[in-house]
Symmetry: C2
Subunit: 242 residues, 2 copies
DNA sequence: CGCGATCCTTGATCTGCCTCATGAATCGAG
DNA sequence: CTCGATTCATGAGGCAGATCAAGGATCGCG
């Protein structure tokens, strides 16, 4: 079912003045499959919106009236149980799509973890665009299939992995998705609480596990929000329970 | 993104002699969106295959050379960690589709829990059918979105629910998907071990929780593979941690 | 640069579920 | 039917991670 390669097909550059001209994630996002004219029409159907850290983009049980493409920042998808327990189902990085659902309401709350920018589209207009752009539909399917694989991988982590394995797996995931700065320094834009709620642990356990990795010289904390991987092989082993 | 209703669109009955004439799940399965001629071409591209309980349909890390539609029986999707820990990511019921992935290899093993019948399609032929049948693509997207929602719901269960809540949630899910016999007797075609590996628990814990529900007169065990819900409200409460 | 708020770390103790062990119920084969 | 194999139930004890508690680091703001 190879409907798309790992990377979006290369498209000719947009002319200056096109609303998406300086979008950093155009080829990464679902928009990546649209050519200039279709993209212009697409973008014109909705505004660009900004949220600051902590803001709610969509609330679970809200009507799913819009879909979004994240161009900058970081979101979390979470669900709250009646007594306050919270589970984070995933994070959205720039280029990710928000709104894969066939239901009338959102099943999860989406909140900004960092200041975020999104392209917002009314669902009705979006559905029209999808209907008239087969390659957009194909891309959406690819995105959904990818998210499904990621969610199932996370089921293994939550159902069967130990605290050490969970935290090691998480740091590896982050190292793959977050900007590496000079000297292999990795940005960790997620608080201990969010890590805990994503990994099915408590904040104290996450903190202890990170400390243990530091003491064992597997990682190095270079700031509260940055770290370095010292022993990548060991971290891989710990993540897989070897 | 209302590309499909809850139920597949009603199609004219097939003529006797059509290979899918007496398929019990045609409208439920992805095939449901195809009309008689397209369906005939579709079905002719692959055989019907049978597996007995315990057989492996696809092995994780196998090349994803085929896709399947389950017409009868029950499958489990599972993953094994190096040391033998196992997590079941989900079950497939008749009408469900096996093979949503953009990867070259399957990420999970699919095994028959009960004797099962599947329509098997070479991926290349299937991709052709998808490319020439937009409604099939739309349906696949709907299926993927639905599976994604289910997987994320399971993340909440595995990350944050107690053993009691997990088992109660599971029994409710089963009661919604499995054939109710006379007297509200519900079929429970899944062993304690499979329940445990699906719920992120050990078999002894599942057994104890079921016993506790029995003692509390919330359910009644009418056989090893069948039960009755005596107090549905209470079971709902227990599932949600109220 | 001083102050409160927030986030993070660390220690002590507790507990829900796991592990280990055993026997009972059920099932299939002969 | 009987017998062995498998699945399920239940008890006793242990442990990974939760909970409770306290202090330290970092940040935003006047």
């Amino acid at each position: 079912m190879n409907m798309m390669g790992k990377i979006a097909p290369a498209l000719p550059d947009l002319e200056p003045g096109h609303p998406c001209f300086d979008c950093a994630v155009r080829e990464l996002a679902v928009c990546g499959v649209l050519e200039a004219a279709a993209l212009r029409a697409f973008k014109s159907s909705g505004p660009t919106v900004h949220y600051k850290a902590g803001d709610t983009v969509v609330f679970e049980a809200d009507e799913a009236a819009n879909v979004y493409s994240l161009t900058a920042g970081l979101l979390r998808l979470s669900k709250l149980l009646p007594d306050g327990r919270r589970q984070i189902a995933g994070f959205l990085f720039p280029g990710d799509f928000l709104g894969i659902t066939m239901e009338e309401e959102h099943a999860f709350t989406a909140e900004a973890v960092a200041p975020s920018t999104l392209c917002k589209f009314p669902r009705s207009r979006f559905d029209q665009m999808v209907a008239s752009n087969p390659q957009l539909e194909r891309r959406l399917y690819a995105v959904a299939a990818h998210e499904l694989a990621a969610a199932r991988q996370q089921l293994v982590l939550l159902g069967r992995k130990t605290a050490t394995e969970r935290v090691a797996s998480f740091l590896l995931m982050i190292s793959g998705r977050c900007t590496t700065r000079q000297g292999a320094e990795i940005d960790l834009p997620i608080s201990r609480i969010d890590m805990a709620d994503y990994l099915g642990l408590r904040i104290e356990t996450v903190s202890r596990e990170i400390s243990a990795l530091k003491v064992a010289r597997v990682i190095q904390l270079t700031g509260r929000q940055t770290f370095r991987i010292i022993d990548r092989n060991r971290l891989d082993q710990l993540a897989d329970g070897e």
